[in-house]
C-alpha cells in the first residue's frame, strides 16, 4: 500500500533554490511563482512577470542566449508551462547550457479558484521535457532532491528541466513591483551596468 506522495511547500522550495543564488538570473511566471520569488527576497536580478502567460520559459531562453556565462532560471507554475509547452521544444532545439526551467506544480490554477490543470489528470511535464530532448530530473518531492537541483542549476552544464510537486494551499501574497518599465530598467542595470 502506498499513501499519497509527499509534496513540498512552495515558499520553502523557492527559498532553498535562491538562498545561494550567486550570479543567477531569474524570470518568474505570473501568479504564485512571482510571489514566491519575491518572498524569497526581492532582487533586481529577478524579472517578475505579471502577465504574458505561457512566455516565461521562452523569455528565459532569450536571456540565456544573451548571457551565456551566467546561470538563468525560469521559475513558473504548471499552468504557465502548459500554455507554453511548445517553448520546451524550442529550448530543446537550442540547448543553452546555462538555462534551467523549473516548474512549481500544484496541479491547479491557483489564481482562479484551484481548477485542476492537466497535470492533475496524469500529464507528466517531466516526460514532455524528456520527449523534447531536455534532461529532466525526476519529479522533486523532497528537500534533498531540491538541494541537488540548486547545485545543478548553478553549474551551467546543460539545459535542465525540473518539476517540483508542491502543496496546493495558498500563501499570503507577497507582491513585488508590477511596473514593468521599472522592473526592466533595474534588471538591465543589475546585469549590464548603468547606461542606455
Amino acid at each position: 500500500m502506498t499513501g499519497p506522495q509527499p509534496r513540498l511547500d512552495r515558499r520553502e522550495a523557492v527559498a532553498r533554490l535562491l538562498q545561494d543564488r550567486g550570479e543567477l538570473l531569474v524570470v518568474s511566471g505570473l501568479g504564485s511563482a512571482t510571489y514566491d520569488c519575491a518572498a524569497a527576497g526581492d532582487d533586481p536580478r529577478n524579472f517578475y512577470l505579471w502577465g504574458a502567460m505561457g512566455g516565461t520559459a521562452a523569455l528565459a531562453l532569450g536571456l540565456a542566449q544573451a548571457q551565456p556565462d551566467r546561470p538563468v532560471a525560469a521559475i513558473t507554475g504548471d499552468g504557465d508551462m502548459l500554455m507554453g509547452l511548445g517553448s520546451l521544444a524550442t529550448i530543446a532545439a537550442a540547448q543553452p547550457a546555462n538555462l534551467s526551467v523549473i516548474v512549481l506544480d500544484n496541479e491547479v490554477y491557483g489564481e482562479t479558484g484551484a481548477q485542476p490543470t492537466a497535470t492533475a489528470r496524469g500529464v507528466s511535464l517531466v516526460d514532455v521535457a524528456r520527449g523534447c530532448g531536455i534532461e529532466a530530473l525526476e519529479d522533486i518531492r523532497d528537500m534533498n532532491a531540491l538541494g541537488t537541483l540548486a547545485t545543478r542549476m548553478q553549474r551551467c552544464e546543460g539545459t535542465l528541466f525540473a518539476n517540483i510537486k508542491i502543496e496546493a494551499g495558498e500563501h499570503p501574497r507577497v507582491l513585488p513591483a508590477r511596473d514593468g518599465a521599472y522592473l526592466r530598467s533595474r534588471f538591465r542595470e543589475a546585469v549590464l551596468g548603468a547606461g542606455p
Binding site: T56, G62, Q65, G180, R184, R188
Partner: protein, 183 residues
C-alpha cells in the same frame, strides 16, 4: 486526385540580401522565426552567421517573449514571421508595452495580392490594425528598394526610442506564392 505543389516565385531576391546587411550593420544578435517562403533567404543567411543566434520557434508569441529576454540580457533581436503569426502574438505584445521594451518584427504579408489560399485573407487584412491597436508601429514596404532603408529606420527607432516596430513586406514585393496543380 492531383497534388498541389507550392513554390515561391523568387528564390534569392536582392532585397533579402540587403535586409541581411542591415541586420549585420545594426548588430542584431538574435533572430527568432517561424518560417515563411518570403523569409527563406534571410533565414538562411542568419543561420549561417556564427555571430547570430537564430532560434526556430513553434509559435510566434514565443518570439516576442524570447526577444524581451534577449534585450534584458543585452542582445538586440528581430522576429521574422508571416502575417498569420501576428494573431498568435496579441497577448504577448502586452509584455512589450507594459515593460516599455524595444521590439522589431519583419512580417511577410499574405492574403492581399493574388493570394491563392483564402485562409490567409483574414489575418492579412487585419494585420496592420492589430499591430497598431497593440502599440506596434507598422511600416509597409511595397517597393523592393525601400525594404532595407525601412528596416534600418525601424531598428533605429525601436532600440534608440524604446518602441515596437513592424516592417510589413507586401505580398506583391515578395512575390505571389505559386501554386500549380500536378496530376
Amino acid at each position: 486526385m492531383s497534388d498541389t505543389v507550392i513554390r515561391p516565385d523568387a528564390a534569392t531576391p536582392d532585397w533579402a540580401d540587403a535586409l541581411y546587411d542591415v541586420l549585420v550593420q545594426q548588430n542584431i544578435r538574435q533572430v527568432a522565426y517561424v518560417p515563411d517562403a518570403g523569409h527563406a533567404r534571410l533565414i538562411e543567411r542568419c543561420e549561417d552567421n556564427p555571430d547570430m543566434t537564430a532560434t526556430v520557434l513553434t509559435t510566434e508569441e514565443d518570439g516576442v517573449a524570447l526577444l524581451a529576454g534577449a534585450w534584458l540580457g543585452g542582445d538586440r533581436g528581430i522576429l521574422l514571421m508571416q502575417s498569420s503569426g501576428v494573431g498568435n502574438c496579441v497577448n504577448m505584445f502586452t509584455l512589450i508595452e507594459n515593460c516599455r521594451l524595444p521590439l522589431v518584427t519583419l512580417i511577410t504579408m499574405r492574403g492581399e495580392w493574388g493570394e491563392f489560399n483564402p485562409w490567409q485573407a483574414q489575418m492579412g487584412q487585419a494585420t496592420p490594425d492589430i499591430l497598431t491597436r497593440m502599440g506596434v508601429q507598422a511600416h509597409r514596404v511595397d517597393d523592393p528598394d525601400d525594404a532595407a532603408p525601412t528596416l534600418d529606420a525601424a531598428i533605429r527607432q525601436s532600440f534608440d526610442g524604446m518602441l515596437a516596430s513592424a516592417v510589413l513586406l507586401s505580398q506583391r514585393l515578395i512575390g505571389r506564392k505559386a501554386f500549380t496543380e500536378e496530376g
